[in-house]
């Protein structure tokens, strides 16, 4: 059965990647039953698209890593069935789109290939995406200073001295920040994710989070390739304040060199000591 989709592209008219996103969306929308959502109109008027968007599986197409379309979908509370980011797809296919906003032959070919793959993948979906981190058992130790509470999870979590944690299942690591970061920053208002597909070295930057007080660079506890980011943080970075170990995780990486990463990881006991010292010395 050919399914029908709602397609939400970004409208990046000022970048070639955005124009390719638009082209992909057009190609998908040309198939019968599929429907196109205009992001610009959607932003000003919910009524026009809400029905379509809630009934049909949603394909989101972003041009660049700013991910305007994904953010819009998150803001509107939509469930995303499938998504691509053109710059990442281009990298994967080793294509460098031209600078021109008019699409040339190679850009059109890229658009066609991405559109085709997106549809094909979605045809065979239905496979529920299993969450390999669903089995984490959260058991917190707590250190208190004044009215501030600093939790540190035991068992399976590892840390670096830059107050970031990692939890590894198989070959994949989930990474986030600790309560020390979230308490120090206070209300986190911005989350700039790392680029999916990017390779990050141990202690490399995995995006940033920002409050009214400061910008914090997420320092990766491991080396790896970013395979996903926590999309929910785009619309609700306050999830990091609520619990940076659970709903407030930052990104997932495919590990590249777990053996040598280990050398630079702290276990619970070691990090808890580091944390206590930091809290006593610096936290205000």
């Amino acid at each position: 059965m050919a399914k029908s989709y709602a397609v939400l592209p970004c409208n990046g008219l000022d970048k070639s990647a955005g124009c390719i996103a638009r082209e992909i969306a057009l190609r998908i929308a040309e198939q019968p039953e599929n429907e196109l959502l205009c992001p610009v109109f959607y932003r000003v008027s919910d009524a026009r698209y809400n029905k379509t968007a809630s009934e049909k599986p949603l394909l989101v197409i972003d041009g660049c890593s700013t991910r305007c379309a994904s953010k819009l979908a998150a803001e509107k509370g939509l469930k995303i069935a499938g998504k691509v980011t053109v710059t990442e797809e281009a990298k994967k296919r080793r294509v460098t789109p031209g600078k021109s906003l008019r699409l040339g032959e190679s850009e059109l070919a890229l658009a066609a290939a991405i559109a085709e793959e997106l549809l094909r993948e979605e045809e065979q979906v239905e496979r529920p995406k299993e969450d390999r981190f669903a089995g984490i058992v959260y058991d917190y130790a707590v250190y208190t200073k004044d009215k501030f509470i600093f939790r540190v999870p035991r068992g399976g979590f590892y840390f670096n001295e830059n107050d970031c944690w990692v939890y590894i299942v198989g070959n994949v690591a989930r990474v986030g920040v600790t309560d020390y970061v979230q308490q120090s920053l206070s209300d986190i208002m911005f989350f700039t994710p790392p680029e999916v597909g990017a390779e990050v070295e141990q202690f490399g930057e995995l995006g940033t989070i920002e409050s009214g007080k400061a910008v914090f660079e997420v320092v990766s506890p491991v080396s790896g390739r970013v395979i996903s980011i926590n999309e929910e943080l785009l619309a609700a970075p306050e999830l990091i304040n609520e619990n940076p170990y659970e709903k407030g995780w930052i990104a997932e990486l495919e590990l590249l060199d777990p053996e040598s990463d280990r050398e630079f990881l702290l276990d619970f006991e070691q990090y808890f000591e580091v944390l206590k010292k930091k809290v006593d010395e610096f936290h205000v």
Binding site: E201, F203, F216
Partner: protein, 97 residues
């Protein structure tokens, strides 16, 4: 964990602290106000009103003060290079230990 180590390496052996480009710095002092570790010192009476006074207080791999800098006058060493260096030092120490 003693005070002056990072990942088991004596802090003074790790080359990590902010470099100020004085041709760009406009002495807004946001970085000094921001850093809770007293890395910077403000010297009102001198031409260079801002200096890196305590480089070893700087948290290894932290670049947060740099993000407060409007004119982008603060830079840090390469992270990968620093990591490599720390690993080497650890090896040396094990060898001696």
């Amino acid at each position: 964990m003693s005070e002056e180590t990072f990942m088991g390496v004596p802090r003074e052996r790790i080359d990590w602290y902010p470099r100020i480009d004085y041709t760009k710095c406009n002495y807004c002092l946001e970085c000094a106000k921001f850093c809770p570790h007293n890395v910077y010192e403000v010297r009102e009476d001198e031409e260079k009103k801002l200096v890196v006074k305590n480089p070893e207080n700087c948290v290894v791999f932290c670049r947060a003060c740099g993000k407060t800098c409007g004119p982008d006058a603060i830079s840090f060493p390469d992270k990968a290079e620093t990591t490599r260096r720390i690993k080497e030092i650890r090896k040396e120490m094990e060898g001696n230990g």
